[in-house]
Every structure is written in C-alpha cells, then in structure tokens.
C-alpha cells in the first residue's frame, strides 16, 4: 500500500499522509485512552500529593463502583435498557428497511430516505427536547389522546424509562435502518418468490429467507444502536426522570461535578469494556466476523 501511495503522490507527500495518520491514531486516539486507563487505577489526589507516597496504583476506583449499590444498579439498568432500545429500534426499523429495500419504487425510496434524514439536520439536543415537549404532561400527545377519547386524563410519559426509550429509538433509528436496508436490498427478490411458491407464508419467508440474509446488517445496526444508547448522555439527561438515570450521567458527575477524574475514568473504562463485550457477544450469536460488519 505504501508503494502504491509513493507511486501516486511521491515520497514527501506519502510521508506527510502517513505521519498525519499515525499522529491521529496514536496521539488523538490511543494515548488519551491509555492515559484514562492509567488515571482509573490511581486515587484522586490534590496536586501537592502527586508523586508522593499515596500516588500508587490501586483498584480502589473500581471497588467503589462494585461496592456502591446505586451505581451498580444503574450500570446494569443501563445495559438492560440499552438492549431494550436496541431491540425496539430493530423492531421499528425492520419493516421500514424491508419496505424500502424490496417493495418501494425508486421515488418512494427517495422520499422516505429524505424524511428519515431531515430530522438529523437538527442538533440532537433540539430533537430530543422536541420529544420532551411532545411527551410532556400538558403536551400535544396527551392533548391528542384526550381529544380522541382514548384516555380520560393525561399520562405522565416522562416518569420512568418510557421517555428515554422513545427518545432513543427515535434518535438512533437511522443507524439501524440503513445497515438493514443495505443488507436486505441485496436479497434477490426471486428468493422471496421461490419461498412463497413453495408454500411459505409471510412470517416464515422473513424468518427463513430475509432475516438470515440480512444478518450482517442486523448485527451492524444492533452494535451501533447499542453503543450509542449505552454511551448516550443527552437523551437520558433531557427525557429521563430521577428514577431513570443513565450510567453516562454518573460518569459525567464524577468528571464535572465531583471533579474526580480518576473515578470517572474507571467508570468510563468499565462501560467501554462492556461495549466491547457486547460486540463480541453479538458477533458470536450472529456468527459473523469483523469483515461482515465492514460491508
């Protein structure tokens, strides 16, 4: 590859490109991560104590997380809720993606893709805040449901996890629809027709033909949505109730409210490990390799 680059751009330019690449990878990606890991194994000290007898490696920060009931509960709740968000997003996105990939005309695809993308031109905070308005106690959704006579008094959507789940499914739907669309689009329509011709009904066609074919897309979408959900801050901060705190909010608090970067780093590192574990698990369940996800 270096040979090709040299042949094309000459030696000096190639050197610059490679140096920039390595600079980005090492200084901007790897080094900060390593520093945070280093932080996470040290106690939080005032500057005068740095280098002193107390500045030693310890598991104390991690023990705090394990020992703190509330934090531990929130950690597991975050995992569980993120999985829930992932599954809900998949359920919502699959029909849309299937329609786009197999049934829609070119014009419909354009229109729907545009409708899906336009909200993303708006800042995530604003998009999330609009859900805050929609779901609020005296908001338009309650007004609509009351007007239709479906409920006889307003519902508190924003207590509990409901608001967070809705907000996240909405925020990450594109990250699921497009990988699914890509995967389903490459399915030969004759496969569906053949299955139908052999007697298969709708559910079986999807279960036996479409979903197995779309597996890499489903895995990619699930991994992306899970990572985004587990690492989300804005949605739980805006749409969450006091009872639905997200693990990211605790990390944020350690860094910026508690001023304890070491503790924050430890918590963040645990979240990172969890996400990597999730990816590995999904890849194992779907029996796919890293190469499949890149497609």
């Amino acid at each position: 590859m270096i040979k090709q680059l040299t042949a094309r751009f000459g030696r000096p330019m190639t050197l610059v490109v490679l140096l920039l690449l390595w600079f980005w990878l090492i200084v901007l990606v790897l080094l900060p991560q390593l520093i945070m890991i280093d932080y996470s194994f040290k106690p939080n000290l005032i500057p005068s104590q740095l280098g002193g007898p107390e500045d030693v490696y310890t598991l104390g920060n991690y023990q705090t997380l394990i020992g703190n009931d509330i934090h531990r509960t929130i950690f597991f709740k975050t995992i569980w809720s993120s999985i829930l968000v992932t599954v809900l997003t998949l359920l919502v996105s699959y029909p849309v993606a299937y329609f786009l990939a197999q049934l829609a005309t070119a014009k419909q695809v354009m229109l729907i893709a545009l409708l899906l993308v336009i909200p993303y031109w708006i800042n995530e905070i604003l998009r999330t805040f609009s859900w805050y308005l929609i779901l609020s106690f005296q908001g338009p959704l309650n007004a609509l449901l009351l007007g239709l006579g479906l409920i006889d008094r307003p519902v508190r959507f924003l207590t509990g996890d409901g608001g967070v789940l809705i907000g996240m499914v909405y925020a990450y739907i594109l990250f699921m629809v497009f990988p699914l669309y890509n995967a389903i689009e490459s399915l030969d329509n004759n496969q569906v027709r053949a299955a139908r011709n052999l007697g298969a009904g709708l559910l079986r066609i999807h279960w036996r033909i479409v979903i197995p074919h779309a597996k890499p897309g489903i895995a990619t979408g699930c991994i992306m949505v899970f990572m985004l959900a587990a690492g989300s801050y804005a949605v739980p901060a805006l749409l969450g109730s006091p009872g639905s705190r997200w693990f990211t909010q605790i990390i944020y608090n350690w860094f910026f409210e508690g001023g304890d970067w070491n503790m924050g780093a430890a918590y963040a590192f645990v979240l990172l490990i969890l996400c990597i574990g999730f990816i590995a698990a999904v890849m194992k369940v779907f029996r796919i390799g890293l190469g499949d996800i890149g497609k």
Binding site: D188, A194, L198, G199, A200
Partner: protein, 366 residues
C-alpha cells in the same frame, strides 16, 4: 391426478400497456407444454398468472378443474423453477429441497426420506449436505428441479431454466427434463425463447408474439404448417417470397411472385384472390429441379458453406429482394457448385405454405 390447466379469457394490462391480450387455453394433464416467443411477448406474464404471483386483469385460471382465483400463490398446486434458479444460498442442498415440506409441517425424518429419493431422481445421490455454492451450474439446476418436485405439484412451471447453462449441458438437460417429466407425469409448463428447447421437449407449443397466441400446435405441425407469418419466420428457417394470390384451388393457392414466376403452395390461412401474401419454403425443401416440378426457381449461387452432412447455399434470384437459402444433402451437390454457378431449384407445393402478407402483430405494442 387431474392436473389440467385451463386459462379462460386471461388478459393482463400494466397501466396502458397490454402484456397479454385475452386468450383461452387448455393444457392437458401430464402434458409438456411450452410457451415460445421473443422477450416481451407476454409468456413470463402468463407463467406468473398461473403461479399466482400476478392477478390477471380479466379471466380465470383453473388447475385440475379447481378455480384458482381465490387461491394465493403460496397455496397453489404449482411449483416454479426460476430462470436464476433462486436456490437458498444459506441452506444446504437437502434443506433447499425440504423447504416446501418444512412449510407443510412434515417431520424431519420424512423430509429426509423425500430429499434422498429426489436427489436420487435428479442423479445427485448423497449430496444433501453440500452448500449451494459448492455445486456446478448443472448440479444447481438439478437441485432446483428436486426442490420444485418435493412439494408434489400438479403443475411444474419452468421459466427459461436452462438459459444460464452452456450449450452442451443445456442439450443434456433437455433430455433429462423430458425424462423426469415422463417419470413423474406432472404437467410441465415451459417458458422459452429458444425454439430448439421448445421443439425438442414439448408435446405442444404455443407461439406467442406481442401478447397474443399465434398458434398452438405440436412441434412438427408448427414447423410444417405455420398458421401466421410470424410463426413461419420465428420457428425454424424459412425463405419468404413476396407475391399476390392469383387463385385459390381447394387447399392450394397459386401465387404470382412477379418476375420470379408463379408458384403453388398450401393455404396456411384464409386468402382471397388478389390479396398480397408471402410464400414460405424451407431451405431443405429446395432441391435440384426435376421435370415433374411445378414450382421452379432459377438462381445463382453466392456463397457455399460446407457443413459436413449438408451444404448451405446462399443463392439469389435476380428479381427477388432477398437471398434464397438452400440446405442440400452434400451427396447431391458435393463439389459441383461454386460461387457464381447457376442452379435450377424445384419445390413441392405441399412443402410450401402461403400466408397473408399483412403482419400487424409485429407492430403491436411491445
């Protein structure tokens, strides 16, 4: 098993475009029936109507005397072999074949028995565990046939299934398909634009053009007695001499081809004296003229192609617009004709077909 297919007043429109004009057709139980025509003639549309993938604009389909109007595609007693086969690449060979039975809730043990038996039938014994991608083109073909037969259809629909194969394999599979059809006694409906396939395998062939049935007949009748100019020109090779009807004499017609002379031929379709027409004579029907020949044509040879058993000659008559193709036994002319030599050709009236000149069908929407 009654596996007759009856099409009653079937037609299909897509918006303004008429893919199939209203037609009636009866296909017998256990018949090998082909639809032959150029692409866009409506044959695939008809297949999709029979299989239930398309709802006809008018008319109804009956299979084994049962109306199919309310029967969705996945409940019809038909099974289809797709042009690209559409095997399921993520399933093994056996799983592919067993899919239709799996849908019907047949137990695993029973399914395995059926797939083993069918793999035997299509000459692939013991290859159930293979992946589809591990098979050659011909093997995939056989798996597709086995998969379609597994559900014990009354009617097997074949959508140009041999078109992806190379010539030799294609010819081999023709024999094999015919053999399978003979053994299973299922009605085969075969779609093709390849007349070789249609003529060699079929009991009857429907020639289609521009959404209309041109002629439904046995292969030999199609070849010997085309009923429209389209069929005469589409099926096999033919020489066409343009002319005008002079007189009609029972089943025979006298045609005036201007400076080329007057000829006698069979009346292929209704003709009136004075009507413009085409006189069709096959290359192999043109022989060295004898005293008894009523139809004679003097030509000069332009090209000679030696093809072993026979010679093909491209000849020209000074007053005719197109070349006259002659296929002759090499023993008759071998070494005696050259470019520029003159020939006197004769042909029998009963090997000559006269058909109306007018051909609006080819200009119909396509």
């Amino acid at each position: 098993m009654d596996s007759r297919v009856h099409l009653d007043n079937i037609s299909m429109k897509f918006g303004d475009f008429t893919a199939v004009h209203p037609l009636d057709l009866d296909i017998q139980s256990g018949e090998f029936f082909s639809f032959l025509g150029p692409s866009g003639c409506g044959k695939t549309t008809l297949l999709n109507i029979v299989s239930g993938f398309l709802e006809p604009t008018t008319g109804s389909v009956n299979i084994g005397n049962e109306p199919m109007a309310a029967v969705p595609a996945n409940k019809r007693p038909t099974s289809m072999i797709f042009q690209n086969l559409a095997l399921f690449p993520l399933m093994s060979v056996a799983e592919n074949i067993e899919f239709g039975l799996e849908v019907r809730g047949v137990s695993k043990v029973e399914r395995r028995k059926v797939s083993d038996r069918l793999l035997e039938l299509v000459d692939l014994p013991g290859s159930g565990q293979y992946r589809i991608d591990d098979l050659s083109g011909g093997q995939k073909q056989r798996v597709a046939i086995a998969r379609a037969l597994a559900v014990e259809p009354k009617v097997l629909l074949l959508d140009e299934p041999l078109s992806a194969l190379d010539l030799k394999l294609r010819q081999h599979m023709r024999t094999e398909l015919k053999e399978i059809q003979r053994r299973t006694e299922i009605t085969f409906i075969y779609i093709t634009h390849d007349q070789g396939e249609a003529l060699t395998m079929s009991d009857r062939v429907a020639v289609m053009s521009a959404g209309r049935l041109q002629q439904v007949d046995s292969p030999i009748e199609l070849y010997r007695r085309p009923k429209t100019a389209f069929v005469a020109e589409f099926v096999g090779e033919n020489n066409r001499l343009p002319g005008k009807v002079v007189s009609v004499d029972g089943e025979q017609v006298v045609v005036d081809c201007g400076a080329a002379g007057q000829f006698r031929g069979q009346m292929g379709a209704r003709l009136e004296p004075g009507q413009p027409c085409g006189l069709y004579v096959r290359p192999e029907s043109l022989q060295a003229a004898t005293e008894q020949d009523i139809n004679r044509l003097d030509v000069s040879v332009e090209t000679v192609n030696f093809e072993g058993a026979h010679l093909t000659l491209e000849t020209r008559h000074a007053q005719l617009p197109t070349q006259i193709h002659v296929q002759a036994d090499q023993r008759a002319y071998g070494g005696q004709v050259d470019q520029g030599s003159s020939l006197s050709l004769g042909f029998q009236a009963d090997e000559t077909v006269v058909l109306p000149e007018d051909r609006p069908l080819e200009t119909a929407d396509d």
